[in-house]
Symmetry: C2
Subunit: 137 residues, 2 copies
């Protein structure tokens, strides 16, 4: 599901969330939305500086933090790995292959939890790990 977003659409999206639409944030979000590869900070940084070498890594950290805080992207952590980010905020699971390191999305049912009654659940994450079909052989 690769999305081709217009800059103005992203600006509207940001405004709805109360985020200022700076070129840096837009570039970071655009990269995440168009490249659903669950990249880490370093990867995002390396990509965005290709189009604008002036971007600083601090800003990439800031932008990803801001986008996470307002729910536009989801931080993905699995198996002691660095944090990766996902612009697909719908409920889905993440599978990480221990061999190739790739992260796959998968569908899973949103099951009920027992033992945390009365808790306010804001975020649900399902992480699996193991070997993908390519690496299993």
């Amino acid at each position: 599901m690769v999305i081709d977003l217009e800059t103005k659409d992203i600006a509207v999206l940001f405004k709805e969330k109360g985020l200022k639409a700076t070129p840096q944030r837009i570039a970071v979000y655009k990269f995440l939305a168009e490249n659903p590869v669950h990249p880490d900070v370093e990867t995002v940084y390396n990509q965005v500086i290709k189009e604008n070498p002036a971007f600083s890594k601090t800003t990439v950290y800031n932008s990803l933090q801001a986008l996470s805080d307002c729910g536009l992207v989801i931080p993905v952590m699995i198996d002691n790995e660095k944090i990766r980010y996902d612009a697909d905020t719908s409920f889905h699971g993440h599978f990480r292959c221990e061999k190739c390191g790739k992260i796959y999305d998968f569908k899973c049912s949103d099951e009920k939890a027992q033992g945390i009654d009365g808790f306010e659940i804001r975020q649900k994450d399902v992480y699996y790990s193991g070997l993908c079909s390519c690496c299993k052989i």
Copy 2:
């Protein structure tokens, strides 16, 4: 579920997994088993040096790695937090309160995944976050 394990029992457990039963590893495992608070490396280190000040932090890292590798403990990561460790290796979910930072265990069904057919799943983790009943008020 606080477990009071004898050192010899832990030694047997380690032998089954092919781990050498060093005092350091035993202390680390014992602390995790008896204190199901999902501590991070720092917390484990601070506790084990109370009983034996000579233990080094490197060894705590090594021990937790070894215990993780053989499946005696599970690494828990949630919300950009530091890695925490859990000696309860049965399938259960973890809920992290955004306010107090405490991690709660909860029961959840082991639901089927769609889209990763043919993958070898070695580990399943379910992480929720939000506000616990104490902090919600």
